[in-house]
Symmetry: D2
Subunit: 332 residues, 4 copies
């Protein structure tokens, strides 16, 4: 019996979402399934806004940032009424399986819908923040690291030219994955992460000590601090001021901002997106339901949706260890 | 008689300064001249901080952003005392020609020095702002355009995904070169430039009209406004607020910031830097003095230093015309 | 009276052709003109294969390499029969002006067509080779330089690691523009260009001397030779062999190949493409006919089509001069 | 008791080797160890050519492709005499631990040395080929994928413009890791890998069938085949000829070549390099000897050197599976 699959992208867009859509469409074509793409996240589901997808449409989609299905937040979707309307719309289209590409908010929405709809629901983690429990990485995370590092590398040029202190804010919502990876890869001098943050005073003291020691040893130097967003009370400008008075030097704040969400995905995001998309389709018709298809040790894995937000995902011990050996200390 | 040449980089650093230093060193080696690099802009001249430069040292310098000679601002240099000290230092090193790579502030410094020193002084325009009269472009300008456009292209991905309005601030000091080029190349929807700015009210009206017309024709769309820095009263956040209330939509501000100063220079900056550097050295021993070596119609040109800051350099008519045909109007 | 404009891309594709198509479409929309895009170069004209173009279709086209209209060679187009058929097809569509984006072969085709068709014909130079007389640059040229330089920069890393000799072939058809710019910007050590080529023997002697002198002064070094395609008798492998026996060292050949034709266009190509496209549309209805719209000193210029292939375009004196000062000699 | 550590890079250079050197130096500085860098791989060990390394020297090394210690092949090192000489040189410098960054040939050399030297020997996998048993990835592998994919993306532009068949050869020595990842990420249409190669005839048949089916369904299309080097009898040109006569269409061969070895490392290579380098230093003074420090499931692991070349490392099942679902078949 031929199957019908629908896919939508929801929450913050992430590079690689399109590669995932492409994989889903190609895998469906192979199995002779029909595929619909709902537009604007859950809003499209509520308003029955969709488009049928074919192999021609997804040509070269691997290379494209953003999402051709558009994304959106949808507060209304939390209500019973909305979920019932969505269920009715899915049934009207005879959809057997709904694939939701997004973050934990999107997965909560999917779980809510499952109370009112009998079809299969599969989540795929797509967010630059990598803050989804149960998967080693999320689609878009690797690209966002590269974008942040590329920018910090550029900041280093000008920091070196002027032997100046820069404070660079990277995204990550309430998690430090992006900040830690970007700081490590860019060989930044200090990093502030929510998972490792003790107090304002302790942080300032540590930076002050590291900086004076370096200046004693090497004279004037450039110095780059990576700051995870939503961490410092009062924000980056407040921290810049404090550092300025602490170090008696100009401190320039740089907010990388939404640039980190876009761009052609890097290979690791493309490959992971393809793997997860193809695996999701392979589950059609099975008993598997209400799971996220994530990646564990290079292979697709299946994790019950509620597990994905049940607890904060910890930073990699090994990355934190490397950071402690090579950054935030007076030797690096 | 073998000559001695000194070079320094001053003011905001710009990608391609190193390629220029490399060209100067290689051209000097060819002519058997000695070359010194003063460190930290005019500060090095005051403190006799310098290093002798050889071909080995400049290997692969074409690829490197920033400046290996470091740059700095130097307020003190405006005094007679400082200029006299610099002159004495140059004489002590038996320097015949001083090459200053920088912007108009650096050129004013050079002119000031010429009142107290008899040697040859040559300026080379190095700034991402392109705001130097008498040269078609400045070293670093092309790279900064590329960096800004690369970022705005990424912003477009996320703007398209959410059909959202973004406001992107680019550098340029008090000139619109970088803003205009970046907006054109990135196919932005609207651009605000100091040279073409009428009033807050007129601008808001124009944006409002363009946006409503587009929405009528095409429904929800992404919309990117490029804003030159130092233009809008109250800054980008003030404008974002106004737009938000004007358009009844979220408006996200993005400040590209210091990222625009760094990075490996693009080919056009490298080639121009090499051309100007080699030409400057070729003037050693001639009567030419107190000029900037710039580029005009693809060839090196020589312009008296005071001309470089005598009046604001106008935007290219042809670029403005293209902008008016393809942006800031309801058709694009 | 509303006008109808048709556009096609022909010959080797070049990054920026899409940006030019976008500009043409937007400029036409502004003037209320109808625009058709013929597909597959002149073949589409012969087979009446076309598509109507609208602003929606060209969204984000500035960023896209290749050409959405596809390109092709079309030998058949040289005949009278073909030109008459094309003329009839254009008339059937009531086309007033045909814009041909391509190289000199495409312009010859356009001129041939003009003998059989009364409408306006405008050429726009689109080729990575920059070998079109009467324009300072051609759409795609700047991007191809950047791609070549990016690759040679990477080759330099491995050449430095092994202190090895590399021979890198770049495109350019029978012209040295791409080779010269790529060699300069990448700080290559030697460049072989058709315009400056004397003889095999003289070239080998020069390389041999430069290399031995360097090795005497600096010991083992990396050494990169840029070779324009279609220059060396027997091709790159023949030259590599000769160099190997001359230098008693391994010589690695690298052919950059078709990679040089693709990629997102750099800003200079995008802006030039927009400028030329918008200017071409502005000529609709005027007496101007059978001209190429090129760029001279940063402004659009108009050049009779036959002038574009009347004689080989010379390399820039200033670039050649810089090359002689900084490359192909024992000092660099 | 303060320790002395020596490091060398050997075999084909790979992006990230410098990031690894940096990590080793910083970790040593933290522990108050002395670090020497031997130059030119094992040759430097034989000729006692080395340099002492300090934190200043490794500033910004994360960003730099190639290896500042230079690399080389060293056939002579296989002899007993050479190993004894190397051992004597290490003892003369009072080296406690030697770290060898390279591929399996380099590890065999290290194992050979261990027969004549009592110090600790640690290998770190550095090669773009990823063909080292016992580690999930090797330093340089991720960057090489990105470089290859970036090039194939560009080839796609021109392939699409002309609806033409391209054959792209990627590196990998005798393994298909790079080929598989590059083909997947670039959304190529077919991939030929040594691990999955059956016969010339079977391959040609498969390609022929896939291509005719696509052409029936979609008309003319672009089609990209990725070919692992050293696989096809007679090489890429032979295969291009066969495909040309099989498909009755032009087939353009592109050899990516040494470009794949260079470039600034991507973040994943930088972070892995830092992790492995820091971990290697942490082993100083322990009983661990003659192991490679690789990465397993995101953490450093230790593998006896002989295991690294004991058997060919298999391709990831999961990647092969994804390939079979989305490529090399008539649906994709």
């Amino acid at each position: 019996m031929p199957k019908t699959i629908a896919v939508l992208t929801s929450g913050g867009d992430a590079p690689g979402m399109n590669a995932c859509i492409r994989a889903i469409v190609l895998a469906c074509e192979r199995e002779n399934y029909t595929v619909y793409g709902y537009l604007h996240g859950y809003n499209g589901l509520l308003n029955q806004e969709y488009t049928q997808l074919h192999a021609e449409r997804v040509h070269n989609l691997n290379q494209l940032g953003g999402t051709i299905l558009h994304s959106a937040r949808c507060r209304e979707f939390k209500t019973q009424d909305a979920a019932e309307r969505a269920a009715a719309n899915l049934d009207a289209l005879e959809v057997d399986m709904l694939i939701v590409i997004g973050g934990d908010g999107s997965f909560r929405g999917a779980m809510h819908l499952s109370n009112y709809w009998d079809g299969q629901i599969i989540g795929i983690p797509g967010t630059i923040d990598n803050d989804i429990n149960g998967t080693d990485a999320t689609i878009g995370y690797y690209t966002a690291i590269e974008t942040a590092v590329d920018s910090i590398d550029k900041v280093r040029d000008t920091a070196d030219a002027f032997e100046r202190i820069f404070l660079v804010e990277v995204m990550g919502r309430h998690a430090g994955f992006l900040g830690l990876s970007a700081a490590l890869a860019s060989a930044s001098d200090f990093v502030l992460l929510p998972e490792l943050f003790e107090s304002e005073a302790a942080t300032l003291k540590q930076i002050g000590e590291q900086l004076s020691e370096r200046r004693e040893q090497r004279g004037n130097i450039s110095y780059i601090i990576v700051l995870a967003e939503n961490l410092w009370p009062g924000g980056i400008n407040k921290l810049a001021e404090k550092l300025q008075s602490l170090t008696q030097s100009e401190v320039r704040p740089v907010i990388l901002g939404h640039v980190q969400r876009g761009g052609a995905p890097v290979s690791q995001d493309r490959i992971m997106a393809m793997k997860l998309g193809a695996h999701a389709v392979s589950l059609a018709g099975s008993q598997t339901n209400c799971v996220m298809v994530g990646e564990r040790y290079g292979k697709p894995c299946e994790v019950p949706l509620p597990v994905t937000w049940s607890e904060p995902k910890p930073l990699s011990d090994s990355d934190v260890n490397t950071m402690k050996q090579l950054m935030n200390n007076r030797y690096a």
